[in-house]
């Protein structure tokens, strides 16, 4: 589907599909931490996340025959984990109201990060960015997370969010429109950058 993985990763995947189970441990070790982090954004229940990671790999073994060499292993694992966690959250009644496919929570955990990034006297900037971030929907937060923490391409993000390429661009675009209303400080370069990253546009805004 996509071709972002390096050659070794592809070889490992092919070996696994051919029935070589020894390489599954490599796949597991390579992805377990990023899967765990992704899972922890949906829920604070670490044990639930761990159970779901286990399930993801068990499913991987069971459904091996239906997978193909061109599958993107990282995307497969991320999406499979997300599906399982959302289902668990629904089933176990851990969530007071039923959450639909589009309305599950997502924690970007940007606040602690912002503290480290901005100077103390940048209070104004901090407030603006914080406000802008708060106005994002959970799906927009997830898109940002997948882009900057997991390093996924736009096409891959739309795959995980179950949207076609245009819709996912549109989703991100709406986020920017919203942000524009809140932060309106054109001379602040940082905000402009923020907009255009979310737009995914190449042209310069300066």
């Amino acid at each position: 589907m996509y071709s972002v993985e390096n050659k070794d990763e592809r070889l490992i995947w092919i070996r696994f599909l051919k029935g070589d189970n020894e390489v599954l441990s490599l796949i597991y070790l390579q992805h377990s931490n990023s899967l765990f982090d992704y899972g922890c954004r949906f829920t604070s229940d670490r044990d639930l996340v761990k159970d779901c990671i286990q399930e993801v790999f068990c499913t991987l073994i069971r459904t091996r025959d239906h997978l193909t060499e061109t599958d993107n292993i990282r995307l497969y694992l991320l999406k499979s984990l997300k599906r399982k966690i959302v289902r668990e959250l629904n089933n176990a009644g851990r969530q007071p109201k039923l959450i639909s496919d589009e309305e599950y929570p997502f924690d970007l955990r940007w606040a602690e990060n912002l503290d480290a990034q901005l100077d103390e006297h940048d209070e104004e900037k901090r407030l603006q960015v914080a406000k802008a971030m708060q106005s994002l929907t959970d799906r927009q937060k997830e898109a940002i997370y997948l882009r900057f923490n997991r390093g996924l391409e736009y096409e891959e993000i739309s795959f995980i969010l179950n949207l076609n390429y245009q819709s996912s661009r549109a989703l991100i675009h709406r986020a920017i429109e919203k942000l524009r209303e809140i932060i309106h400080v054109p001379e602040k370069k940082i905000n402009q950058i923020l907009f255009s990253i979310l737009c995914g546009e190449r042209e310069s805004v300066f």
Binding site: V4, N6, K50, Q54, I61, F148, I193, S204
Partner: protein, 399 residues
């Protein structure tokens, strides 16, 4: 590289290669972007800006502890096994209806054998050998550092208590799951471990051994990265299996040496006493596993990239003398001998001329001496000389 000349911070953040460099860089990306910064220094400001924005978005990551990582892994293995058996039962049910009873019986047996073998994965994939600290990692993730050059570790029968260099440590008892322990020995150090079944393991420099503190399964399994000499306590009911990334050795009770360093092209197994089965995956079209039944004094060398195995009879003492602080060679490539010296002393030895590496070396090296003295001994047998750089690295030159 040209195309990035007029990039702004935004453009950089939209570039896949740049983003990969910030999130998950490979050597290629690292080289490329460092080179780019050198060639276009005026882009530094834009790149700094892009990195700053990236850092605001890139939030702190939640990580699993090592014991959690292992715990989930062992659960995956267990689940994989049971689900397969369940499917098998269903299969057998239908088979029994359709086929003669004794016939389905043999199918079951065959399938069962396969399952057993298929789902014994190993988790020794990523060696993280720290540069200088030897340690033992207990099942709860706590680390005990091993300060001595040659550490001794021994387990009580129930695995709960272990003695590390004369200090006694009690491990919290995990009643159900196996307590996985791990010993990490960096270059320049060694260790001797007595496992709960009495098996003794000499772990060579730059190696790791992963094992349960007590063996609860039908087989006694350990995982090895690097080199170790095993003196396995005999227990016919419970075979002992040493797994490395490329080979696994199945034994009942015996003495043998495995050298499987990730950076080496070859995996070497030498049998001193008893009988072992060496298993390795074939590379051919059939992709089937190979089994070599080894006899005492036999050495099997597997080439990891070609999947070819070579066998020969050897003087075992030469291959296991490292545990007594000696290295013995008989017509060994100098490059291979130097690798062992490097690991033992935790030094770097470079060859000014790569051809030097193919000189054949024979003789004994006493590793109690300084590395300089060892190199002087090597100098007597092959036409080389050596220099020491200011950073402690050695360079060998042709004489």
């Amino acid at each position: 590289m040209e195309k990035y000349r007029d990039y702004t911070a935004v453009d950089f953040l939209n570039d896949e290669s740049f983003l990969r460099w910030l999130t998950n860089p490979t050597q290629t990306e690292d080289d490329f972007w460092n080179e780019f910064l050198k060639s276009y220094p005026y882009k530094k400001a834009e790149i700094r800006e892009a990195t700053h924005v990236f850092n605001i978005f890139h939030s702190h990551e939640e990580k699993m502890g090592m014991n959690e990582t292992y715990e989930i892994w062992s659960r995956i293995q267990k689940e994989a096994k049971t689900s397969k058996r369940w499917k098998l039962l269903k299969f057998v049910k239908y088979a029994a209806i359709l086929v003669l009873v004794f016939f389905s019986g043999s199918v079951t047996y065959y399938m069962y054998q396969r399952t057993e073998k298929q789902y014994q994965f190993q988790l020794a994939g990523t060696p993280q050998i720290s540069k200088d600290e030897a340690m033992i990692v207990l099942s709860d993730g706590s680390q005990v550092s091993l300060e001595k050059q040659m550490s001794q570790i021994s387990y009580s029968k129930n695995g709960r208590q272990l003695i590390v260099n004369n200090d006694t440590i009690n491990q919290k008892s995990g009643t159900e799951k196996e307590m996985i322990n791990k010993v990490i020995i960096p270059y320049g150090k060694k260790s001797m471990i007595v496992l709960s079944d009495g098996t003794r393991v000499w772990l060579n420099a730059g190696s790791q051994l992963i094992y349960p503190s007590v063996f609860t399964n039908k087989t006694r399994q350990v995982m090895l990265v690097g080199e170790a000499f095993f003196d396995v306590t005999k227990n016919p009911g419970r075979p002992f299996i040493v797994r490395t990334t490329d080979v696994s050795v199945h034994v009942l009770g015996t003495r043998f040496d495995i050298s499987a360093y990730p950076e080496d092209k070859l995996v070497q197994t030498v049998l001193e006493k008893g009988k072992v089965n060496l298993n390795y995956a074939g590379n051919g079209i059939l992709n089937r596993d190979y089994v070599v039944e080894m006899v005492p004094n036999q050495m099997v060398i597997l080439n990891k990239s070609t999947g070819e195995a070579k066998s020969q009879m050897v003087d075992v003492s030469k291959y296991v003398s490292w545990k007594e602080g000696m290295l013995e060679f008989e017509k060994v490539d100098l490059i291979r001998a130097l690798k062992q010296v490097e690991r033992f002393y935790n030094v770097k030895i470079y060859l000014a001329d790569p051809l030097i590496g193919s000189y054949k070396l024979s003789g004994k090296l006493d590793l109690k001496d300084e590395p300089e003295k060892v190199l002087n001994v090597i100098k007597l047998t092959v036409p080389i000389d050596w220099k020491k750089k200011s950073n402690g690295d050695f360079i060998l030159i042709k004489k």
